[in-house]
Structures are given as C-alpha cells and as structure tokens.
C-alpha cells in the first residue's frame, strides 16, 4: 500500500466518521444527564431535509446548517416535552420520534429528491495540509469537520473541568440527590436533550449539504443507531467517542478499500462490524460488575419526579 492510498483512506475515514462523531457527542451529553433519547435517527433526518431545503431555496449553505440545527432542536424539544415534561417512557418516546422524523422528513423532502446543490467544499489549511500521511486527514477537510474537532474538544473540556459538566454528570447519576442539593434537574436535562438535538440536526445537515450534497429519503442510513451503539462502545468516555467514530467510519468504507485491493467481501457484512464491536465491548465491560455500574450514568432512562 502506498502512502497516498493510506492518506486517502484516513481522509475518507474522518469524513465518514464526522456525522457519527457529531451525533454521538450530542447523545453522550444527553445520556450523561440521564436521558436516553433513541430518536437520533429521526432528528438526523429532519436536520438533513431542513438543511437541504433551506440551502437549496436560499442558496446559502450557512442558512442551511442553521436550519438543520434548528430542526434538530425542535425535534428534541418534542421529545423533551413528552419524556421529561410528561414523564413518558423514554425508550418508547425516542422510538416514536425516530419513526415520526423518518416519515415527516420524507414528506417534506418529497419534492426535493434528486435536486442538485453545490455542496460545502473542503478547505485545505495552508502548510498544515502538506504534512505527510496526516495532513490530508486532519487539515484538508471542510469546515464542519473542523467544527467537529472543536466540538469534541469543547465537550471533553466540559466534562473534565467545568462546573456545568459536573452538574450534568450529577443529574444523570442521581437526580434525587441533585434535586435535594438544589441543582436544576429538569433544566439540565432539557438543555442536554437540546444539545443532543442540535448535534443530530447538524449531522443531518452535514450529510445533505456536505457529505453527499443531495436529499434522498432515509439518507441517514442508520447512522443514528450506529452513534447510539458508539456511545456504549465508548463506555460514555468522550475521548473514546472520537476514536470509535473514526473506527466505525473506517469500518463503513472498508468494502471500498477491499475492492480497491482486489478482495471482495460483502459490504453488508462489513457494515455489521460496528455492532459486533459494540457487543464485544459490552461483554468485556460487563465482566466486572462494579466497574460496569460506575461507567454508565446510573439513572439513565429513568424518569424523575421532583416530589417524593
């Protein structure tokens, strides 16, 4: 394998991993606050269609991304209202959100299927992109990929050394204790859910405006689910989310690589790799009960009633 090929594989890996990274970072924050939102797929699709339509009609990519984010937040607020405000079962609500988002996005986007836009162009940073091997991967990408680097660093810092990050962790671990010492449990959870929605919306926008600049029904192709698995795979650790997103990204382009090298392996089989990896990680994690208990947010998925 020559160095150009490897460099190209790495480039594609990061590009493919970016939507996963964005969705998973959002879901991570959401789950850290104790809320399990299975509606990622629906939020991504709504972000994708809103972003695409806005970009197509206005001609402004930035407006497209903003609308994608807004659509994600709107969807997450719907989830928040039902799962937090009305204390409905989070799993059921999340699944409903995915089904709803899939249908609604197809309906909104029906007239826009196959219409072309000029997508977001990569922007190679001078000098840095010349670095052998890693230059193309890290510094010849588009703005959203750079933004994903920044968001990763921000979330990492948020949980590592900020007070709000500490509050999110506390609320996700023991909302009753958090309430008892006067932390705003509901507000924290709403904000975390909204952040998850914004990130999923942005990822959707990335798919329809930058990655494959077009709209197609169900174009997220299960990325929302992979990102959910990714959070578990990363055992709720931010740095592992980055690693996992790129690894899963690599897994989903592997069939192309293998084709290029003359092997033929079913792409469907390769697409199962992220899930197999997640199951393996779950098995390894759950071997030590105490550690497993400490890793996942302890109140994940449990509704919180303030009065008790």
């Amino acid at each position: 394998m020559d160095i150009d090929l490897i460099s190209n594989i790495l480039y594609a890996m990061v590009r493919t991993g970016t939507p996963l990274l964005l969705i998973a970072l959002g879901e991570l924050v959401c789950e850290k606050s104790g809320v399990l939102n299975l509606g990622q797929e629906g939020m991504v699709l709504m972000g994708a269609v809103a972003g695409f339509v806005a970009a197509l009609l206005s001609g402004s990519l930035i407006l497209g991304f903003l609308l994608a984010i807004a659509a994600g937040i709107a969807m997450s607020l719907l989830f928040g209202f039902i799962a937090l405000g009305l204390n409905a079962n989070q799993v059921a609500t999340g699944l409903a959100l995915t089904i709803f988002g899939t249908g609604l996005s197809a309906f909104i986007g029906a007239d826009f299927v196959g219409k072309p836009i000029t997508g977001l162009e990569p922007f190679a940073l001078p000098l840095l992109s010349e670095i052998p091997l890693l230059g193309k991967m890290l510094f010849s990408q588009d703005m959203i990929v750079y933004l994903s680097f920044f968001l990763f660093a921000a979330v990492y810092w948020f949980f590592r050394s900020s007070r709000p990050g500490l509050i999110v962790k506390a609320v996700g671990e023991n909302p009753h204790a958090a309430n008892a010492i006067g932390l705003p449990v509901m507000r924290t959870r709403y904000l975390a859910v909204m952040f998850g929605g914004a990130m999923a919306g942005l990822a959707g926008g990335y798919l329809s405006i930058a990655y494959t600049p077009l709209w197609a029904e169900n174009m997220s192709a299960g990325r929302g689910w992979i990102a959910l698995a990714l959070v578990v795979f990363a055992s709720w650790k931010v740095e592992r989310v980055l690693l996992g997103a790129w690894l899963f990204g690599l897994a989903s382009i592997l069939h192309l690589v293998f084709q290029g090298l003359g092997f033929s392996i079913s792409s469907n089989l390769l697409a199962t790799l992220p899930y197999v990896a997640t199951i393996l990680v779950l098995v390894v994690l759950s071997r030590n009960q105490v550690r497993a208990r400490l890793l996942a947010p302890m109140s994940l998925g449990k509704p919180f009633h303030a009065s008790s």
């Binding site: 007070r163 500490l166 509050i167 962790k169 506390a170 671990e173 023991n174 009753h176 204790a177 958090a178 309430n179 008892a180 010492i181 006067g182 932390l183 400490l294 302890m298 009065s307």
Partner: protein, 512 residues
C-alpha cells in the same frame, strides 16, 4: 410573640399542615428551635418527621402554616433557598454522587461559592480537621465506608456558613465509636451558635445529646420535653401512645427436636472481600428461637446464603431438614419443605421496590395456593396481601402501593408478615428489626414469639445483642466464619456473648 424575644428563635414553625392522598402527614405542627440548641424530633416511622424536615428544607411545600426564620416570615421554595438561609441537611439515604470525588460532590452543593476545586479541597481539609472528621477530598465516594460518606454530608454543610443543621437518623448507620465522634462534633457546633435538629428514634442517644425534644405521633405533636429529665420509657410512651406495649419479657423455652441441622458446613465466599465459612455446626429445634450474634461481615451473609438456598453447598449433608439433606436444593424447594426466609436487604431482596405490595406478597406466597394451574389468582393474592397489612398493621394506602413507597419499618413488617402467614416450619430471619422503630420492633418480636409457640423453628441472625437476649431461647455468635458455643440464653451473659463476637472461644467446645 416573636417580637418579645431579644433574639428571636432561629426557626419557628406555626401550624404546619401537609396532606398527602390517603394520609395527613403533618397536622398543624408547631416547633421552635433556638440558636445553639440541639433539638430532637422524635417519632415512630410514619409519624411525619421526614415530611416536616422536608418542609423546612424546601423539598415539600406545606398546605398550610408559616415558617419564621430569625423571627421573619419566609417561604422556603427549594433547597437552594434553604441553603442560602443557612440551613444544611444530612440525609438518611445519602444524597451523594458515587462516581464523583468528595471535592466534586461538595462543589456541586455549594454552587457558585465553591471556587476552584483545589482551594475547595483545602477548605474541606481544614473544616474536617477542625471538627475531628478525617476526610480525603480526592477519594471517589464509592470507595468510602458508610461512616465516611456521612462525614462528607456533614462537611458539605459545614464549609458554608451554617445556622441550622438538620440530621435525619444520623446514627442508624454508625458504629458506637463513630456515634461518639459525631456527638463531639455536634456539641462543638452547637457551642458555636449553630442550631441542630436531630431526628432519631434512639432514645438513649437523644437523652445523651439533645437539650429539648418535640415528639410526633400520627402527624401531630404528642409531647415536648427535656430528654435529660425523662426516662427512655416515658419518652417512648409519648411516641407510641398508651395502647402499644413497648417491650415485654418473653418466657424462654427449651426444645429438643431439631428441625434444621447444620454440620461441618464449609464454604469459600464468592465475594473477594467476603468471609469463608469454617466447619459450622449447630441445630435449630422446632419451637425455639436460636439467636446468632456477630459484628457485620463475619460470615453472616455467606451463612444465610447457604441456608436460604441462594447458594448451594457441595456437601449436601451439611444442611439437613428432618426429611433429609437439603444442601443441594434451590430456595423454592426448601420453601416447599417448610422454610421461610427474611433477608437483610429489604428493598431488592426482601421485596421488589417498584412492584405493588400485592405482587410482592405473591413472590414468596405463591406456594400457598395463590397460583392456580400456572395462572395467578389475583383475588386470593389481594386478600393475602390485605391480611398481612391488616394483621401486622402495615401503614400503607393499600395493596397497590409500591414496596419502595413504604418506610423501612413498615416494609419490614410486611415482609416478616408475609413469611409468617405462610406458617413455615422453619423461619430464617436476618436483622429483623434493623432500622425499625420501637412500635414496629415490638410487633415483629411478638410475631416471632407467636410463631415459635406454634412450634416453628426460628433462626435469627442479628447485630443487636439486646434484641437477641430478649427473644432468643438459645444464643451463639459468629466470628471470622466460625461459630461459637451455643448456650441457653438464661445460662449466659451479654459479656460472654460479647467475647464470642470478638472471636474469643475455643472451637472444641462446639462438639460438646
């Protein structure tokens, strides 16, 4: 009138009333706490102590009544506001975050006053040293013992300016030595002008520590007193009312027909921090209560696991019922043979927290005809649960209430009632009255004695040596996974059993 005071009381409650569906938790309660006063709030489980305390801390909004803070009327809307006023609270079930460090936990509670973590850690060290409560700020909570966790809760209140400290049953989780240390800290705090509201039902402790006491019964103030001037008996009378017997001496009996025989039981613990059992031999006779004393962690869990059938033992003969060896049988098979079991943990083992009392009744009661050809007989199950509630005076809105909504003592009455109502031939009970108030404990003891007199063999494993002397016909102790000699209760003394608990016995004696 508050204006008449030169310094108004730190806290005054006037006619506080809180009504929940199905019960009046607080009925027009008045309370006064002065600065530098240690005030006891006494009452049985369900008397309304917790609700009142939550009202003060802003967790529960009263339906009626007013709260005066330093003579000024205030409305305490949430805990954050309570803390701003200078009210700190130490919860019975700690409100700590297990995966976070001591410093992070305290930083969360302090809000913006926390400052940066390193300087806060320093403050924590200073405060904990000043009040004689050693703490390492960098440890994660899940690595701390129960006593240390309580220190974190207390220090969390003390790093802020504090004017009123509320402690909810703080001693129920502590060893006698730890209790002493805690009292030294509390007295020092009071001397500095902090008012302390001490919630408990341990009367000796209240008499040793508190200046004044307010006693609640069924949501109302049933008495006020200076605990030091009263006897434990007279205070207990105010707590439980006139018609509940407080304690009785039960006649001891001697029986000779063994039901449960344990011989040469050896077991390596599954838990790396557990205790292995070594050559345990004893028998429990039909119609008697055998008490096993011991400090927690000396093999009780392993012994109970082996006896209940949760863990099967390799040597089937080591555990014997009259009809044969049972060491290899599952809990269900042993229950079918007449055994009943009350585990130590109420929520999670004795009862499923988010299942109704009716469903919990079914969980062990299904062998007594509550299941008909694989289908649950709902009517009978409800009747069974109702009978338990009625017979053992479990305070609950009804059979559909979730197990977790009951207080510890009430749930324990329910669990013990559930087992006894099945008329077992052998009852194994672990810590039957742990954390249970006098009224409930007396009721549980009476139920056990009644069952004994019906001819059942009863094994009680407990850390409460007074309790064992009160109800056991024969008594022994467990230490480091070995069992002490077992003597008829009248032939031994608390001192001797205390020595056994510390491991001071010769194993050869057992054979005798």
């Amino acid at each position: 009138m508050a204006e008449a005071h030169i310094t108004p009381p730190r806290l005054t409650l006037r006619r506080i009333t809180k009504i929940y569906p199905g019960c009046v938790a607080n009925d027009s309660i008045d309370l006064n706490i002065e600065p530098a006063e240690i005030h006891a709030l006494l009452g049985e489980n369900g008397a309304g102590k917790s609700t009142l305390m939550k009202v003060i801390y802003g967790l529960v909004k009263p339906d009626q009544g007013e709260v005066l803070w330093d003579g000024m009327p205030v409305e305490i809307k949430d805990p954050a506001q309570a803390r701003k006023l200078g009210i700190g609270m130490v919860f019975q079930h700690f409100s700590l975050f297990e995966t976070l460090t001591v410093t992070e936990n305290i930083a969360l509670a302090l809000g913006d006053d926390a400052g940066d973590l390193p300087s806060l850690a320093k403050r924590i060290r200073e405060v904990s040293e000043k009040y004689g409560m050693a703490l390492n700020p960098d440890r994660e909570i899940h690595t701390l013992s129960v006593g240390e966790r309580q220190r974190v809760e207390i220090v969390r209140c003390l790093v802020q300016p504090i004017k009123l400290l509320i402690l909810d049953e703080p001693t129920s989780v502590l060893t006698p030595q730890e209790v002493e240390t805690l009292f030294v800290t509390l007295r020092q705090l009071a001397k500095e002008g902090c008012a302390i509201l001490f919630i408990s039902h341990k009367l000796d402790e209240v008499r040793a520590l508190c200046h004044n006491a307010t006693i609640l019964r069924a949501g109302k103030v049933s008495g006020e007193c200076k605990p030091a001037d009263e006897s434990s008996q007279s205070i207990a009378r105010m707590m439980v009312g006139d018609d509940t017997p407080i304690s009785t001496d039960y006649p001891k009996v001697l029986r000779e027909e063994p039901f449960l025989q344990v011989s040469g039981l050896n077991r390596v613990s599954d838990d790396p921090f557990g205790t292995d059992l070594h050559n345990i031999s004893f028998s429990v006779n039909a119609g008697e209560i055998l008490g096993i004393a011991g400090v927690a962690g000396n093999g009780q869990e392993e012994l109970l696991g082996a006896l209940s059938g949760e863990d099967q033992v390799e040597n089937h003969d080591a555990i014997h019922f009259p009809h044969g060896a049972v060491g290899h049988l599952s809990p269900r098979e042993r229950r079918a043979a007449g055994m009943a079991f009350v585990p130590e943990e109420r929520l999670g083992r004795g009862a499923v927290p988010d299942m109704s009392l009716k469903d919990n009744a079914l969980l062990t009661g299904f062998l007594t005809g509550l299941v008909n050809r694989g289908m649950i007989a709902h009517g009978k199950t409800r009747e069974f649960a109702e009978k338990i509630i009625d017979r053992y005076k479990v305070k609950t809105p009804g059979t559909e209430a979730h197990a977790e909504s009951l207080s510890g003592g009430n749930l324990q009455k329910f669990i013990i009632g559930r087992e006894i109502m099945q008329n077992p031939k052998l009852l194994i009970a672990a810590h039957p009255t742990w954390g249970v108030d006098i009224g409930a404990a007396t009721a549980i003891h009476k139920a056990l004695i009644e069952l004994r007199d019906k001819g059942a063999a009863i094994l009680v494993v407990s850390e409460d040596i007074d309790e064992l002397f009160q109800i056991s016909d024969r008594i022994g102790a467990i230490c480091h996974g070995r069992i002490s000699p077992i003597k008829p209760t009248p032939d031994t003394t608390i001192n001797e059993v205390g020595r056994w608990m510390a491991g001071d016995f010769d194993e050869v004696e057992i054979k005798a």
